[in-house]
């Protein structure tokens, strides 16, 4: 029997899922498969008008039914216009699922209630089957409510806040997972079944391991296993590819790996014990240990499985001496506490994926879901012995990254190797389980913090000892960040790593920041209580950062803060408000470039950067449009292709403060050239359409390149590897969080959040706000739900789907207000710095302080689960 899909009838197969049928047979790739278990809703389509998860729906169930996918909404639904207008997305990978479900909800709501906005709870109920890892829920909420109220029934005037939003709400945006069609072979990674073992032999079964022209038989390649030792269950060992996914899975089952088992060490306590098996016994092995730090890991001593300390001190001996003496005299103004955090997975909704193709001239084309096309070029060229010009890397749309798609990940190596042997394009797309096991995580930490104040309430000493639990990797920088907070009091900050036979971490959005804030900001609140002082007053005294000082002044007048409840709160539901301060380093990419070319009377902006959801495509478009004085829609941005002029990788909160100024400079140059040709063009401000048209016609084919100008007074560091430099000035943030604690069932419900950011001038306000709102969502996940769990005997990751790894949904997050303090970076071209990380640092800490305020009990361990809360509040 046939199915009617978007108005076209066609047969349905008797096997596979509806999602596979829509994507692979019908080419309707707007429907995404992100979790494969019905938990995330990215694959939602309308069946007979009802939202249904197509990843679980057998394809044959479509027979005789009417199906509407995101493509079938034709971009004409009010919800689609509303998503664009309210910037209800970041990376866009979950967007089609949200749009389809929201369209059905909006239609039903309006027919039942008329054109009135539903409350947030009604929208949260309707969209509770959807997850957005970027956390664009504020925009989604606003969009759906406005669409229900009938505010988006006609096409809007003016440009959308995010220039590529129309592509994302219609399913036209093609992500790496959508590419390859039926020509590409499917690659599957074969992973270690042992926590710790020497790999003796990898046997291919019947698969081919050498190139052999035209052969369609499955192929296998070994993957690099450092030291020939696997160190966690799930570590990549080999990869296979075959013309279809089913054949590839079967070929993978044939691969035989012979292991010589080594004794595993799973828990950090076990790893510390004398006589415990050692993961990296030799200096050579220690030299190759993977790091989840963003910068190269400085050398540190090893003892067994413990690496460290890496020490950052300011009069460290004085700090330690003062703290010791305070402890001996039981000084009530000594706060010494221990805090722990759980392992947080990046788990971007687009999994790691690569489509690799070797061209006849020996060059390599890689379509990669990456946050840095340029770094992949450099690393791939080195890996395959090619010149950088022989490697082309494209990342048109990237479905989230958060730090985990930062270079030559396993999918890139496997796809490239497999394509070489297969003689065909090969794509490797990690499953959600692989993504959660080996796709990167922010390691758990255990942090001891000690603060000492004197009678006048001044900070006299600080000590932080933090231990990172990054599985087989190292690179913790939690304690070190304590150097950037609360003035110049003496302090000793020590970071340790404990290695175990569990998967490695990866840099994640403000590495080290959230775990330090979780400990330090709660310790500061504790000190405020000891001093009998308001937490805000104490911070205003201790904190020398002028941006946060400005934010504190605003907080002091906030109704959310001023009107917070005081005194003991009886009853089942208790409201509390807490705040937390945060800081981050200002980083930039001095080599950032933007090329502007006049094509067909319009301006095309090109750069080898990529948009992971932060909105750099829109920022470049906004900057160039404004500086040129052009009307909306005259500037077209092409990024995500390594062939363009140098662009920055999306890490270190540096994309906007690097690409923005380069785009501005390019626009100024172009404007200068255009004025030479058409003198009527004004030097600044908007340009008459006919003048601009005349100028651009005269300049057809012209190309200029803008560079990232240097900051006044220069940088703090020279440009390091990866085009990274540290600039002058620290960014600042303050979060104020309100929670309601259900003391009967142990549930924390964040209700309202105020996020204040001091990052200088903001480029594109709505998209900046979106990132800050998303960081609140991720921070709430970190605070309350997210936790990678493992089997204590083997280290096997157990929470390997999106039911057991719990992301916050639309109903779990607070109503969020974002405030920008836009001064303090006038020395930077564009006067603004990045905000992606600083806005993520203090969220969980603010939740912690709010829970304490509500209940009188201080949470020490993340996440603040019901079981922990019940122990604490009873």
């Amino acid at each position: 029997m046939d199915a009617d899909v978007n108005g076209r009838r066609g047969p349905v197969p008797d096997s596979g899922t509806a999602a596979e049928h829509l994507r692979e047979q019908l080419g309707l790739t707007g429907t995404k498969v992100a979790c494969g278990s019905g938990a995330c809703g990215a694959c939602t389509v309308l069946v007979e008008g009802s939202p249904t998860v197509s990843c679980l729906l057998p394809a044959d169930r479509l027979a005789g039914r009417t199906v509407t996918t995101v493509e079938g909404l034709n971009g004409e639904h009010a919800v689609q216009r509303a998503f664009v207008a309210h910037d209800a997305m970041q990376c866009g990978y979950c967007t089609p699922g949200f749009v389809v479900a929201a369209a059905a909800f909006t239609d039903r709501w309006r027919s039942e209630h008329g054109d009135v906005a539903p409350d947030r709870a009604a929208v949260a109920d309707a969209l509770s089957g959807h997850l957005c890892r970027c956390g664009a829920y504020e925009g989604i909420m606003a969009a759906v409510r406005a669409a229900c109220a009938g505010e988006h029934d006609t096409d809007p005037e003016g440009a959308p806040p995010r220039s590529d939003a129309p592509e994302k709400v219609t399913g036209r945006a093609l992500f790496t997972t959508d590419l390859g069609g039926s020509q590409a072979w499917e690659g599957v990674i074969v992973r270690s079944t042992r926590p710790h073992a020497r790999v003796l032999k990898v046997s291919a079964g019947h698969t081919r391991t050498e190139p052999g022209g035209g052969d369609r038989a499955p192929v296998m390649v070994p993957l690099p296993v450092p030291d020939g030792v696997v160190r966690h269950v799930g570590q990549p060992v080999a990869a296979v590819a075959a013309p279809t996914a089913e054949l590839a899975r079967r070929a993978a089952d044939q691969v035989q790996v012979d292991y010589a088992p080594l004794p595993p060490v799973i828990g950090t306590e076990q790893a510390r014990r004398p006589g415990a098996p050692v993961l990296y016994p030799t200096a050579k092995e220690r030299g190759r240990v993977p790091s989840y730090g963003e910068a190269p890991t400085p050398p540190a001593p090893w003892r067994g499985n413990v690496r460290g300390p890496g020490v950052v001190s300011r009069r460290g001996a004085t700090a330690v001496d003062r703290l010791r003496r305070a402890r001996r005299r039981d000084d009530p103004l000594l706060v010494a506490q221990e805090y722990t955090t759980a392992t947080q997975a990046h788990t971007a909704l687009e999994p790691h994926s690569t489509l690799a193709r070797w061209e006849e001239d020996g060059s390599l084309t890689l379509e990669v879901s990456t946050q840095t096309v340029r770094k992949v070029v450099a690393k791939a060229a080195a890996h395959w012995g090619l010149e950088p010009e022989q490697v082309r890397v494209r990342a048109g749309y990237v479905g989230g990254a958060f730090g985990a798609k930062n270079g030559m990940t396993t999918d890139v190596v496997a796809a490239g190797e497999l394509a070489r042997v297969a003689g065909a394009p090969v794509r490797v797309r990690l499953s959600r389980s692989e993504e959660l096991v080996d796709g990167g995580h922010r390691p758990g930490t255990s942090t001891k913090v000690a603060l000492l104040a004197d009678r006048r309430g001044r900070l006299r000493a600080m000590a932080v000892d933090s231990e990172g639990d990054g599985g087989m990797s190292v690179g913790s920088t939690t304690a070190a960040l304590g150097a950037l907070m609360y003035g110049a009091a003496p302090r000793r900050l020590r970071d340790f790593d404990v290695v175990t036979n569990r998967p490695p971490g990866a840099p994640m959005r403000a590495p080290g920041g959230p775990p330090l804030a979780w400990a330090l900001e709660q310790a500061v609140d504790t000190m405020a209580a000891r001093l009998g002082e308001d937490p805000l007053t104490l911070r205003r005294r201790w904190d020398g950062n002028p941006k946060r000082q400005a934010l504190y002044r605003t907080v002091a007048d906030l109704p959310l803060w001023r009107g917070r409840p005081r005194g003991p709160r009886p009853g089942r539901f208790r409201r509390g408000v807490g705040l937390a301060a945060a800081t981050w380093v200002y980083m930039l990419a001095p080599q950032a470039r933007v090329e502007l070319r006049v094509v067909d009377g319009a301006v095309v902006a090109r750069s080898a950067t990529q948009d992971v959801g932060t909105g750099i495509r829109g920022v470049v478009s906004d900057v160039v449009t404004r500086r040129l004085g052009a009307p909306d829609g005259w500037v077209h941005v092409e990024i995500g292709d390594s062939g363009a002029v140098h662009g920055t990788g999306a890490f270190g909160s540096r994309t906007t403060p690097s690409m923005g100024p380069a785009a501005a400079e390019a626009a100024d140059r172009l404007r200068g050239v255009l004025r030479e040709r058409v003198p009527e063009m004004p030097a600044a401000g908007p340009v008459e359409e006919h003048t601009l048209k005349e100028a651009l016609t005269a300049a057809e084919g012209l190309s200029v390149v803008g560079e990232r100008k240097l900051d006044r007074w220069g940088q703090l560091t020279p440009s390091m590897a990866n085009d990274l430099a540290v600039g002058r000035g620290l960014s600042g943030a303050v979060h104020v969080m309100e929670v309601e604690v259900d003391t009967l069932l142990g549930r924390v419900r964040p209700t309202r959040c105020w996020a204040g950011l001091g990052v200088g001038r903001v480029y594109s306000e709505r998209m900046a706000r979106n990132q800050v709102e998303g960081a609140v969502v991720q921070g709430v996940g970190y605070a309350l739900f997210e936790e990678l769990r493992h089997d204590p005997a083997t280290g096997t990751v157990l929470s390997d789907d999106l039911e057991d790894y719990r992301l916050p949904g639309p109903g779990d997050v607070p109503e969020t207000e974002v405030h920008f303090h836009q001064e303090g970076f006038e020395h930077v071209p564009g006067a603004g710095v990045g905000l992606g990380e600083v806005c993520a640092v203090g969220v969980a800490a603010a939740v912690g302080n709010a829970v304490h305020d509500a209940t009188g009990r201080r949470p020490h361990a993340l996440p603040v689960r019901p079981d922990r809360l019940l122990e604490g509040v009873r």
């Binding site: 057998p58 109920d125 509770s128 009967l744 769990r789 204590p792 057991d804 719990r806 019940l870």
Partner: protein, 320 residues
Amino acid sequence: MILRPSDVEEAVSLLGEGARARAGNTGAASALAAGADVVDLTGVAGLRGVRPGPEGSVQVGAATTVAELAQAPGLARSHPALVRTAAALATPEVRESATVGGNLLQRNRCAYLRDPAFSCLQDGGRGCPARSGDHPRGVVVDSGGCVEPHPSSLAVALLAQEATVEVASPGGRRSVDAGELYASGEGAGDHVLGPDEVVVSVHLPGPAAGERVGHLRAAARSRAEWPLVEAVVRLGVSGGVVGHARVAVGAVARVPLRLPQVEQALVGARPGQALDERAERALEGVRSWCAPLPQTGYKVALLGATVRGALEEALADPGR
């Protein structure tokens, strides 16, 4: 191959030949048993729909979706405990596909069971790796075997609704109390039906006189979450006094449980007032039922708290 029987008897006979049943396909079972022929139950005549019966009773076909159940006209008035339970489970999209029968007979969600690298009591192995391993969401009424709680929310509600379930076997049809689908939960598997047996329908007796209900799920996230503890309460109130009480809980044991001692203590309670001493004692007594695992000690208190919350809701319920 997909087989589409037209009636229940044909379905049962196909299942007897080794095919595997498929309804909403939203559960873990479909992933666990790939390869075999599939008997699609959603097209079987008479298996779908909510039909009113005599004296306020209702018959629910096993292939009725959870969404249809949650939205069935009139059911929210006559059987609110079941409707509220149905409307709160999983997500709107999953409820759209998931069926009543599938929910009752679903496989448990243990991560060790889903990982083929582990062998366990549920798949023919000899031990439970979760017992010695990681089990923070495990049972708190430990019976010594598998430690994964029964996942069905509807089963909890059906216990509270005093429902019976019609089962079709090669030998014919029989009607059993909802709890008998699971017996003691000590064996392998998540229910006691054979591979050639299916649930045909659920029979819900009419509402109690003056029915009041409470339903509560304890969970960290507000929605789309497997509960840590779930409680369903039905009270029959006449003359301002509770005359009839049913209390059922889920996610605490290998099977959904009724709490008869709490039910008995509620008879005679007065809605609108706080729990009396007898009810308090009975709630306290629930603790003695519990035999927690190393990581589920918190569920002892949470079970009591969830039942208390559901009771308070029911006692405050104005009725319909």
